[in-house]
């Protein structure tokens, strides 16, 4: 007697495939946000599962801050090539040059600056929908966001007027200029992502695994020592065996000391971890409502 019951990864997978196909069917000009990070790596596999043997019917879009880990960019370009997908890259540097984005005095993190770049890219290509890899377990504001997250013509999210999502019926209707952000991994946790990567044997950028790196101690965490912000004389610098748990800008991504060298090691490490993934992202620590504010302004 076969079992007609899905295990949790298969359940999450079929839900995400369903959502990807809804996007392909209901939107005219969708894009898939691909950074090269672990969540968007899962998105690519789900897109293959949803659309093969056809081409993935949407280009990949990456909003690059210019402060990425080089390993991430190499991986991003190679993976898009392997999948025979069109990769569109728009950068914060370009936007600063054109005046689309303006740096606040003293602002070093480029996280905020991705917002105008993303909105400009949406306008340039007239994208009506962007698929992103955000998960609800990452953060409190995300926990309240829908699979189909409606944005007004300024790209803004309003938590109070979200469309109810009932059963598996998603309302993707838009008026001109409006935009939808769709998050197929909404119900996935960090553990689910790694279990899926292991099950599907997906390649990830090498920095997720243990490696040797010069790090500098800043705001209670170890971040890579780079030329972007050279270590000051009073800052502690150390060569360490580390890996990254979540990839943001190279200047603000916390490195955790870890010998984890394989998917199994990483999964074991997460299972006993006592800090959430976003605990290693300085950009979320600014205030307890940091993500809520960024999303309202049009962030991913």
């Amino acid at each position: 007697m076969p079992s007609y019951h899905l295990d949790h990864l298969n359940y999450l997978e079929t839900e995400a495939i369903h959502i990807m196909r809804e996007v392909a069917a209901e939107f005219e000009r969708p894009a898939l946000l691909f950074s090269g990070g672990k969540d968007s790596i899962c998105l690519l596999r789900l897109a293959e599962k949803a659309f093969r043997p056809s081409d993935i019917p949407m280009p990949f879009l990456n909003v690059a801050t210019g402060h990425e880990f080089p390993e991430l960019l190499e991986f991003r370009d190679r993976r898009a090539g392997e999948l025979n997908a069109k990769l569109i890259i728009r950068t914060v540097d370009e936007a600063l040059e054109k005046g689309i984005a303006v740096q606040a005095p003293g602002q070093i993190s480029r996280n905020q600056l991705q917002i105008p770049v993303l909105l400009a890219a949406i306008e340039e290509f007239r994208f009506d929908c962007c698929i992103g890899g955000a998960r609800r377990d990452e953060e409190k504001a995300r926990a309240k966001e829908r699979f189909f997250s409606f944005r007004d013509s300024f790209g803004q999210w309003d938590p109070k007027i979200q469309r109810p999502e009932i059963w598996n019926l998603y309302n993707g209707r838009l008026n001109p200029g409006e935009n939808m952000r769709v998050f197929p991994l909404s119900n996935w946790t960090e553990m689910d992502v790694w279990e899926y990567i292991r099950r599907e044997k997906l390649e990830v950028p090498s920095i997720y695994f243990s490696h040797k790196r010069r790090c500098v101690r800043r705001q209670g965490q170890w971040v890579p020592d780079t030329d972007l912000i050279p270590a000051k004389a009073n800052e502690e610098v150390r060569e360490m065996i580390v890996r990254v748990r979540t990839i943001g800008d190279i200047i603000s991504t916390g490195c955790v000391e870890s010998p984890a060298n394989s998917y199994d090691d990483i999964i074991e490490e997460i299972a006993v971890a006592r800090v959430t993934e976003r605990g290693s992202r300085a950009d979320d620590r600014v205030s307890e409502a940091a993500m809520e504010d960024r999303k309202k302004a049009g962030y991913f």
């Binding site: 043997p53 504001a141 109810p164 059963w167 019926l169």
Partner: protein, 440 residues
Amino acid sequence: MTTATTPHLVDLLRFNTCGSVDDGKSTLIGRLLYDSKSLMEDQIEALERSADITGGGQINLANLTDGLRAEREQGITIDVAYRYFATPHRKFIIADTPGHVQYTRNMVTGASTANLSIILIDARLGVIEQSRRHSCIASLLRIPHLVVAINKMDLVDWSEERFLEIKDQFDEFLPRLDIKDVKFIPVSALKGDNIVFPSPQTPWYPGPTLLGHLETVHIASDSNLSNFRFPVQWVNRPNNPTDHSLHDFRGLSGQIAGGVVRIGQKVMVLPSGFKSTIKQIWTLDGPLQEAFSPQSVTLVLEHDLDVSRGDMIVDAEDLPGASSDLHAKICWMNPRPLVAGKQYLLKHTNQTVKSVITSIEHKINITTLDKEDGITELAMNDLGEIRIKTAKPLIYDGYATNRLTGSFILIEPGTNSTVAAGMLMQPIDVAHPEYRDFAI
């Protein structure tokens, strides 16, 4: 003994929690997460930080779920929030919905995907109007399993008598509901009794803890596995197939909404009525011999038929209903009331059609499930029975038979707001497709 690194298969239980602001619902979820060690240090730290500001130094487990700043300021929960945790036995998704009367729509949203619903009752108050209301919604949405958590048992001296009294109150009301599996558990969310750990205070209660029950309740037969239904979502016809031998490939992609499909099975495409046979069940991981709801697959038929998004492939011997005159229960979710005669877009499975509300038959009293006649409009958070006419026939099942082929949403043209959740009554007649006798 499995360790974290051994891939072991666990399934996923989705549940929602219902209770009013003061029933301790947020505390209950906080307790489940805290005691099952699903909280991380930085979350606990954030809790402690906010405790200093608002809680007079005491950790407030409710702060874990009252997420947005707007909500914390007002001390309410404004929307459905989803929470995730896991034990070695199961993964869980909690849809946390606020309990106040004006938020029926959020509860319907949270309940629509749930296997199980937890109704929280304050042991001092017993079954109140709100408990009935929540149970009625759970019943209307046909959530298979219900847990009645009788909370704040510490405030009634852990009295078995009080527990049984509340159980009796609930049992009296139960025959009106369509819920087969109901479990009563005495708990104290604040103190942690019978949530994750059995309580020494309730020697008279022989049952499982709340978490113990969530880990073991049987959900494998919750989805419809008897009537094969496949709403076509996307036609998969490659221009440059990844595999060149597939240049003639014509697949029909979608998520199986009911039943099981096998190679060689005789099927019918509706509404056209063309018959064919399943030639292949295609997936990226290789072909399958059979597939079941809710798997997402790509079907290849023996014949090259004209099939498009919105069509439904069904077992040729087991046809659903088809009609453009529909009878349904709905939950109205918009501040502008529903008025008979108005046009809306109706999304059902994978198609969106024009529709008009032909009449409002009754309003459903949400506390008793009694029908109220002579109604001219349904306001936000009202439940009612309506008749709708659609511009083309829907291929559907009754909601009682299939939650996916028996449900729809209404969308207001212009604003594009989702204004209602609808549940179709059993079809009076099965589909009579034009080409019913057309044999290939």
